[in-house]
Amino acid sequence: MKQAQQLHLFSTQPAIPRARVVRVRPARPRLQRTRRMPLWLAVHLPRLAIEALHRDDPLQPHAAIEASRGTMRIASMNEAAAASGIEAGMTLAGGWALLPQLEVHEREPAKERECLYRLALRAQRFTPLSTLDEQAVLLEVRGSLALFGGAEALLARAAEMFTQARFTFSLALAPTPRAALWLARAQRRVHVDAPDELPGALGDLPLAATGFAPDVLEHLHGLGARRLQDVMRLPRDGIGRRYGARIVRELDQALGRLPDVRLPVPLPKRFSTRLDVVHEISLTANLLPPLGRLLDELEDYLAVTQQGVRRMVIDLVHRDRSITPVAIGFANATRDGRRMRQLVEQRLESVALPAPVLEIGLKVTEMTLLAGADRSLFQEGRGDDRWPEIVETLRMRLGDDAVASVAHVEDYRPERAWRFVAPGQAQDTAGLPNRPCWLLTPPQPLTERRGQPFLDGPLRIIDGPERIETGWWDEADVSRDYFSALDANHRRLWICREVKTGRWWWQGVFA
C-alpha cells in the first residue's frame, strides 16, 4: 500500500528489536494471591530530553543541552552522538571538542512533558490506567492481558507503538509501578509476576536505577553499597534516619509493602497537536508521512474519548511563521484512521504551498461523541455578549479570512505596522501619531510634474518630510520621505518619495 510504503520510507531509524521478555521465574499457579494483584508495565525513555526535540535524523549526532551552573552541558544525546562518545553531563565545549559536527538543541522540559503526556494518552489503548513518571510512562495492564493475548503479546504491541513513535525505550513488567520503573531504568527486560519475586529481581539492580538523589547515591556508594541488595541489608531505621523516610518509603513501595497510588493522566478537552519538520518540506506529497504520525495520535485520542471528528484544520507553518491552513470536513463524524488519511491525501492534492513547511499542526475544530448528539466547540462563549456567535456566523458564510481584526505591529515601515489577526485577537496599544486612518494596500504610484507629485492635479505639501529608513533585517529595507499633502478635493493624503529612486507613492488618506 502506498501509505505503508511512505511510513516505511519515513522511518529511517533502525527498528528497535521487539522486546524480548525474560521471565524471572516460571509463574507457579498462585491464583489466590495474584488474581487481584496489579501488573505494571513501565516504559522508560532514556533519551527523552533529545528525542522530545529531535528524532528524525538518526545518522547525524544530535544532543540536548541545558545550562547548569553557568555552563552549557549535554543533557541527552541520540544514538549517533552516543556512539561517538558524547555522554550526558559533558560540557558543551567538551562535546564539541570530541565531535565538532554535533548539533545541539536547547532542552525544553515543557516539550518533554508534552511528549510523555501524549505517549501516555496514546497508551490508553492498552489500559485506562496510564500515567507518567520521570522519563517514563507507567501502565497498569493486569486487566488487559487477556484482551491482548498475554503479556508477551502486550509487550510486543507496546514496543511496536513506541518504536513507531520513534522513541528509544526499555520495558519491564512488575507488580508494583516503582519496581517496574526501576527494572526498566536498569534496562532489565524482565517480567516479574508475583510480589514475592520482587526482592530477588530488584536486589541485583545497580543503585542508580532507583533515581535516589545524587548525594544519597554518593553516600551509599561510600559505604561500599553497589546494588540494591546492599541497601536492603542495612537496618531500616538506620536508613531512614540517615537518608530520610522517603528512601525507605520508595523501597517499600517498590517491594509492594506500601501502597503506591497512581492516577491516570487526564484527557485533554480539545485535540491539538503539532510537529516540527526537520528538513523543510516543499512538496505536498512529502507532508504525508509526518501527517500520518499526527493522525495516529488523533486516532488514539478519538478511540480513548469515544469521539469522532467532523472538522479539522491542518496548519502548515512556514519559516516566516505564516500559516497555510488546510481545513478538512467530514460529512459524518469519524474516527477511522484510514478514512481520515484518504481524505487528507485528497485534500492536500489541491493545496499549493507558497513556501516550504517547517512545522505542521493538527487541530480538531469540531468533534462529536460518536453515539451522542453534536457538541459545538463554539457554544462556550454564549452569554449576554452574542459577539462570538455573530463572528462565527460571519466566518461560516464569508470565510475565515473575510472577518478579522487589525492589529498594530511596532514597525516604522507603514505597510508593516499592521496586520490582520483573528477577530478580537488584536492588542490595545498606544498607536503612532501622524498616521492616516486609511492605508492604501498596495500604495499607488504618483506621477511627478514640475518636480511636484501629481494626482488629478498637483498635490500641495503641507508637512514633511518625515524620514523613515529601517527594516534592513528582513530583506525589506526602506528609505523614504513622507509628506502630508492636500489634493484638489482638499483631501489630506499621505504620500512618500523613495530616497533612492525619487519615485512618489500615495499610501494613505487622513480621512
Binding site: 538543541h105 536547547e106 559505604l223 531505621d237 534516619r241 540517615r242 503612532l432 524620514r467 523613515i468
Partner: protein
C-alpha cells in the same frame, strides 16, 4: 556658494555602551573629512572615550571638545561641554556624582546635582517634544548665559512647527538656539549596527524591538550641505561660536603626586636620597661597591631630571607597608630593577649580583613614565589595596579601568540573539569560531561548521559581527593599577563604582593613562609569592633560620643542577612542559641564564623563531654574528637574538633610525596588534629604515617577524629579571627544603600546572615522608612534623573535599585540650555539622578514630545534630552489614575525596595486567634508546595545546614510577580525538625521542583503558 561652517556639539561614541555605533577615532576622522570646525564627544555621563578621540584629533588636526550627555531623572536631557579646565573639572565632578550614586554601569542625576551650575561649561538643553515652561526657566536660571537650546531635527514630521516652537521659546526665555545632531554614528551606514546595539541593549530580538529603534539613520555626521538645508544659518553659526570658546585641551591635565610622602623641611629629591642612603646601609652593611654607588648616583640624577621622585616615594610607601605586615612583594617593570629600587626594597634583584645595565630601564630620551608593577602575595593583596584607600581616601585613589570589548564569540552570541537565531544555533556558530585565528569572522569557518555563509541571515550576521568586534561593552576594573592624586581625583577623571562593593574605578584604562602621561602604581597579586612566604616561614620555624628572599644563598650550583635536570615540578615559571623540555638543552648556569630562559620560552619568542637560533648559538653549533657594531651593542648579551622587548625598540632606533618616541609607539603597537592590528605602518618604516642603513632585506624581515612575535607576550628584560629571582628562590626551596616546598605549594593551591597528587608524588620521590590527613594530627594547612632526620609533611584538612577552614580550626583547638575519644566526641567538642564530619569520613581523615571507611561513613551519618537542652541523642540501632573496603576502593575514595592517595599508585595495582598488554613503565622508558617503538600507559594528568605549535598537543601520562611525555601531531590527534579527550587511563604506541636527556613519545596509536580503573576520578587539567 559657501557652505556654512559647523561644529557638532552633541555626539556619542561607542563608549556610550550599546548606543553609540562608531569608535571615537572614526567620528574624528569623519568630522575632519566633512570639514567640521570641531567635534564634541559627549558620551552619556562618561568621558571614557575622549582620550582615544583626543589621539585621533591630534592625528587629524581636529578640535576635540570634551563633553557629556545627561538624562536627568526629573528633567531634561542636557549636554555639557567643557570650555576650560574649570569646566572640565565640573564635568568630571558631576559625572562622578551621578555614577557613584548608582550601580556599576549606571548613573543617577537629578536637577539638584546641577546646583553649582556647571561653571566653565556650555550647557545644551535638548528639549523634549512637549516643553514645559518651568523646564525652560530652570535651564535659564541654572546655567544663565551658558545655556543653549539644542535644535535637533532628525527626520521627524513637523520640522517647521518644531523650529518655530524652539525659536519662540528662545525669544521668550533669552536662550539662544544652536544646531546639533544627536550623532550616534559616523556614517549612515552604521544604521544597522546601531539598531543591533539597541536590540542587544534591550535583550530583545530586533524584529521585536519595534519603536525602541530609531526610525531612520539621520543620527550620523551629516554633510554640511544638508545641514544648511535643514537649519537656519544663525543656528549653525552658533555651533562654531560655542566651539571656538572651548579652549580646554586634554594635555593640560597633569598629574600631581600626593604630597604627604615628603616630611616637612624636605624636598622630594632630598627625601628620596635619604631613603636610598638608608637602604644602601641595609643592603650592603659592609659598604657599597664603587660601581654600584656610581650607578645609584646616575639613577638619582635621572629621576631628579624627570621629577619622578614622588612616584618612587609612592611605590616605596606601599612596599614599606607590605613589609611591615610581613607581606612578601616584588617589583617589576621598566624602573623596578634599578639600584634605587633595590635600596628602597621595591625589588630583591641585587644589582651587585647581576651583570645588568640599569639605565636601560629609565632613560631620559624615552619620554615615558616609569613603570613599576608590584606583585604581592595573592591572598594578601587586598590588605595593600585597603591600605591605599585608607591612606589617600576614596576621593584620591581609584583603580584604572579595563575596557571590556566584544570578541568574536561574544559578538556572535549577541548578534545571533538579536537576529532571532535559536540559542542552540548560536552556540553552533560560536563553536565554529572555536579555533579563532584572526580578528575577523571568516566565511570558511562558517562553511566548515555547516553554516551557509550566503544565507541572508548569516550574511548580515557576518557583517555585523565584524563591525561589532572590538566595540567596548563595559568598563571593568583593572587588576591592580591604582591612580593616586594629590587632590580630589574626580577633578582629573570621573570615578565610578566597580562591580565589587567598595571598589571604585576611573573612566580611563591604562592606555588612556599612558597617552596622557599619567602615572599608575600596579598592585598585583602573585600566588608564587604566597607560596614562597609560606615556605620560608615553615623553614624558618622548623630550623630556627632567618632566610628571606634577599638572603638565600645565591648562585647555588646544586640548584642549577636540579634545574638543568628539568626536575622543576612546582618551580615558578619553569614547570611547564615547554620549559621542562627546554631546560636540559638550555642548561642554565647562572642567574642571567634564568632571566633569558624566562623570557625566551614564551609564545612570542617561540613564534618569532628565536628559541632555536639562540640555543644553537649557545651550544656553539652556530656562530654568533652581528651585522653591525650597533646591533652588537644591543644584542650581545643575548647572542645576537632579540629576546627582550627593550631590544626590539633599541634595534628600531639604532638600525632603522626610529626616534625614541617612534620606538615607544612601536612598543605599544606590538602590545596591541593582536587586538587591534596597526603594526603595518611600522613594517614599511622599519624595513626601509634598516635597508637604508645597509642591512639586508632578509635580516630586516627576520627582525620584523621577531618583533611581531612579541605581541602581547613579549617580556621586558626587567620583568624577566624579577621573575627569574622567583624562579631561583622557588628552585632553591625545592632543592633544599622539599617538604616545606611541597607543603607551601599545597597550601597555596590552586596554582601552577600540577595537581596536589602530582606534587605529593614528586615530594615522595624526593624522599619526603608524607603523612595522611588525620583529625588527630592535621591542621587546615599542610604542616611539617619532626622526625629523626628531615621534616615529614603532614597533609592538611584543606585537601579534604567539602571541608572548611573554620571547622579545621575548631578541631585543632579541641584537640589541643585533649585528644579525641571517638567520632561522637570529635563531633561534639569540635562542633561539627553532619556535612563536615561526613566529608572527613569520606576523606579517610577519621581512620585513626573509627576504623574502616565504610563503617566510619555509616557511623558518622548516624550522628544526630545536637538538640538544644537535650544534647545529642544516641540511638541503639541494628548493626549494618558492611564489607571492608578493598585497596582499590580505598584508593578510589582517596582520589575522589582528597585528590591524591598515599597508598600505592593505582597503576601499581594494574601493573600485571598492563605488563600483559605490553606496556612499559615511565621509568623503563628512560633506559630505552632513541627511536625505539615503545608502548606506555598511564593516567592522563595534563593535556596542552600551546598557542604556538600549530595543532600539536602535548599530553602527560603518569604511572607509579613517574611521567611520560607525549607529543601528538595534529593528524594523529584528530583521528583519535575521542580517545585522546576521553581516556583517563591512556595507552600509547609510539616512537621514543630521547635527546639531550629529554624524553618524548611521539604518539601513534592511542588506546583507552579507562575501564581498568573503574570510576577513578583523575581530573586532568586540560588545555591550560
Amino acid at each position: 556658494m559657501n557652505i556654512p561652517e559647523y561644529a557638532e556639539l552633541h555626539c556619542i561614541s561607542n563608549f556610550t555602551f550599546l548606543r553609540g555605533a562608531s569608535h571615537p577615532e572614526e567620528l574624528m576622522a569623519r568630522a575632519r573629512e566633512l570639514g567640521y570646525r570641531a567635534l564634541a564627544i559627549t558620551d552619556e555621563c562618561s568621558v571614557a572615550g575622549v582620550v582615544r578621540a583626543w589621539e585621533a584629533a591630534r592625528e587629524h588636526g581636529m578640535h576635540l571638545i570634551v563633553g557629556a550627555e545627561f538624562r536627568l531623572e526629573d528633567g531634561p536631557k542636557l549636554v555639557a561641554l567643557a570650555r576650560d579646565r574649570s569646566g572640565y573639572n565640573s564635568l568630571c565632578r558631576v559625572i562622578t556624582r551621578g555614577r557613584r550614586a548608582a550601580d556599576k554601569g549606571e548613573y543617577r542625576l537629578s536637577r539638584a546635582d546641577f546646583a553649582d551650575g556647571l561653571p566653565g561649561c556650555w550647557v545644551l538643553w535638548v528639549p523634549e517634544e512637549i516643553i514645559a515652561a518651568e523646564t525652560a526657566q530652570w535651564v535659564r536660571g541654572q546655567f544663565g548665559e551658558r545655556a543653549r537650546i539644542a535644535a535637533e531635527w532628525l527626520g521627524e514630521p513637523g520640522r517647521e512647527a518644531r523650529f518655530a516652537q524652539l525659536q519662540a521659546i528662545s525669544r521668550a526665555m533669552h536662550i539662544p538656539v544652536v544646531a546639533s545632531g544627536d550623532v550616534h554614528m559616523h556614517v549612515r551606514g552604521r544604521r544597522a549596527l546601531q539598531d543591533m546595539l539597541t536590540a542587544i541593549r534591550l535583550r530583545t530580538p530586533l524584529m521585536q524591538a519595534g519603536y525602541h529603534l530609531y526610525p531612520n539613520g539621520e543620527r550620523h555626521l551629516r554633510r554640511r550641505e544638508r545641514l544648511a538645508e535643514i537649519y537656519p544659518a544663525e543656528w549653525l553659526a552658533e555651533s562654531v561660536r560655542l566651539a571656538q570658546a572651548c579652549t580646554f585641551r586634554l594635555d593640560e591635565l597633569s598629574y600631581e603626586y600626593p604630597e604627604e610622602l615628603v616630611p616637612a623641611g624636605e624636598t622630594p629629591a632630598s627625601h628620596l636620597r635619604k631613603l636610598t642612603e638608608k637602604g644602601m646601609k641595609t643592603r650592603w652593611p659592609a659598604g657599597v661597591d664603587e660601581r654600584i654607588r656610581a650607578q645609584i648616583e646616575r639613577e638619582l640624577a635621572l629621576i631628579e631630571q624627570r621629577r619622578y621622585e614622588p612616584f618612587f616615594l609612592t611605590v616605596h610607601d606601599v612596599v614599606s607597608f607590605a613589609r611591615s605586615r610581613g607581606i612578601l612583594c616584588q617589583g617589576r617593570g621598566s624602573a623596578a630593577n634599578s639600584a634605587v629600587c633595590y635600596c628602597l626594597g621595591i625589588t630583591e634583584v641585587d644589582p651587585a649580583r647581576q651583570p645588568m645595565v640599569f639605565e636601560r630601564f629609565i632613560s631620559a630620551e624615552r619620554n615615558e613614565p616609569p613603570d613599576i608593577d608590584v606583585d604581592f602575595e595573592h591572598e594578601r593583596r587586598e590588605e595593600v589595596i585597603q591600605y591605599i584607600y585608607e591612606k589617600y581616601g576614596r576621593a584620591r585613589a581609584a583603580l584604572a579601568a579595563t575596557v571590556i570589548s566584544y570578541r568574536p564569540r561574544s559578538a556572535i552570541r549577541d548578534v545571533g540573539r538579536a537576529l532571532g537565531l535559536a540559542t542552540a544555533q548560536i552556540e553552533n556558530l560560536a563553536n565554529a569560531m572555536q579555533w579563532w585565528d584572526g580578528s575577523k569572522v571568516g566565511e570558511e569557518r562558517l562553511r566548515e561548521a555547516g553554516v551557509d555563509p550566503q544565507s541572508p541571515v548569516i550574511r548580515k550576521l557576518i557583517v555585523l559581527v565584524n563591525e561589532l568586534i572590538g566595540f567596548p561593552r563595559h568598563l571593568s576594573q583593572h587588576v591592580g593599577g591604582f591612580v593616586i592624586a594629590r587632590h580630589s581625583l574626580d577633578e582629573l577623571v570621573p570615578v565610578e563604582n566597580a562591580a565589587m562593593p567598595e571598589r571604585t574605578v576611573i573612566q580611563w584604562d591604562k592606555d588612556d593613562l599612558e597617552s596622557l602621561g599619567l602615572l599608575k602604581v600596579d598592585v598585583l597579586g602573585l600566588g608564587m609569592l604566597t607560596m614562597i612566604r609560606r615556605a620560608l616561614d615553615m623553614v624558618n620555624g622548623f630550623r630556627g633560620t632567618n632566610w628571606t628572599m634577599a638572603t638565600l644563598p645565591g648562585e647555588d650550583p646544586r640548584v642549577y643542577e636540579m634545574i638543568q635536570r628539568a626536575d622543576t615540578m612546582g618551580v615558578f615559571q619553569v614547570e611547564s612542559r615547554a620549559q621542562m623540555a627546554m631546560l636540559p638543552r638550555f642548561r642554565p648556569r647562572n642567574f642571567y641564564d634564568l632571566v633569558i630562559e624566562v623570557a625566551i620560552v614564551r609564545p612570542g619568542p617561540i613564534q618569532g623563531d628565536m628559541v632555536h637560533p639562540y640555543l644553537r648559538r649557545r651550544s656553539g653549533e652556530e656562530p654568533v654574528e652581528y651585522p653591525s657594531e650597533a646591533i652588537r651593542s644591543v644584542l650581545e648579551r643575548t647572542l645576537g637574538v632579540p629576546i627582550f622587548q627593550e631590544q626590539a625598540m633599541q634595534i628600531a632606533v639604532v638600525a632603522a633610525g626610529f626616534t625614541p618616541g617612534e620606538a615607544d609607539q612601536l612598543r605599544r603597537a606590538m602590545a596591541a596588534w593582536r587586538k587591534r592590528g596597526g603594526m603595518e605602518k611600522f613594517e614599511r618604516k622599519l624595513i626601509d629604515g634598516m635597508r637604508a642603513n645597509g642591512y639586508s632585506e632578509q635580516f630586516a624581515r627576520q627582525i620584523y617577524r621577531q618583533l611581531q612575535g612579541f605581541g602581547e607576550y613579549g617580556f621586558p628584560e626587567s620583568h624577566a629579571a624579577s621573575f627569574a629571582l622567583l624562579v631561583y628562590v622557588s628552585a632553591w626551596l625545592k632543592c633544599h627544603e622539599p617538604a616545606a616546598f611541597c607543603a607551601a605549594l599545597l597550601n597555596s593551591q590552586p596554582m601552577g600546572f600540577y595537581q596536589p597528587s602530582q606534587l605529593v608524588q614528586d615530594a615522595r620521590r624526593h624522599g619526603v615522608e608524607v603523612r595522611p590527613a588525620d583529625v588527630a594530627a592535621s591542621d587546615w594547612d599542610c604542616t611539617l612534623e619532626r622526625t629523626a632526620t628531615e621534616p615529614a609533611l603532614r597533609l592538611g584538612l584543606r585537601l579534604v573535599k567539602g571541608f572548611n577552614a573554620e571547622a579545621a580550626a575548631r578541631i585543632a583547638a579541641a584537640r589541643a585540650r585533649q585528644p579525641f575519644l571517638d567520632v561522637t566526641d570529635l563531633v561534639e567538642r569540635a562542633g561539627l555539622s553532619r556535612q563536615e564530619v561526613d566529608a572527613l569520613a569520606a576523606g579517610g581523615a577519621l581512620a585513626s578514630l573509627a576504623g574502616n571507611r565504610h563503617r566510619v561513613r555509616w557511623q558518622v551519618a548516624g550522628v544526630e545534630e545536637a538538640m538544644p537542652l537535650l544534647g545529642r541523642p544516641r540511638f541503639q540501632e541494628g548493626e549494618p552489614l558492611l564489607r571492608a573496603p578493598t585497596e582499590a576502593e580505598n584508593l578510589l575514595a582517596d582520589y575522589a575525596r582528597l585528590g591524591l592517595t598515599l597508598g600505592r599508585h593505582p597503576l601499581a595495582l594494574l601493573r600485571e595486567r598492563l605488563r600483559g598488554l605490553g606496556f612499559l613503565t615511565a621509568a623503563e622508558l628512560a633506559e630505552t634508546s632513541d627511536g625505539s617503538t615503545v608502548r606506555v600507559a598511564g593516567l592522563v594528568i595534563n593535556r596542552q595545546r600551546p598557542g604556538t605549535a600549530k595543532g600539536v598537543i602535548f599530553m602527560t601520562l603518569e604511572d607509579e614510577t613517574g611521567h611520560a611525555n607525549l607529543i601528538l601531531w595534529r593528524k594523529v590527534a584528530e583521528r583519535q580525538r575521542r580517545v585522546m579527550l576521553g581516556a583517563r587511563l591512556l595507552g600509547v604506541t609510539g616512537v621514543l625521542q630521547h635527546k639531550h636527556g629529554v624524553l618524548h613519545v611521539v604518539a601513534g596509536r592511542l588506546e583507552d583503558h579507562s575501564r581498568l580503573i573503574g570510576s577513578l576520578l583523575t581530573r586532568s587539567r586540560d588545555f591550560h
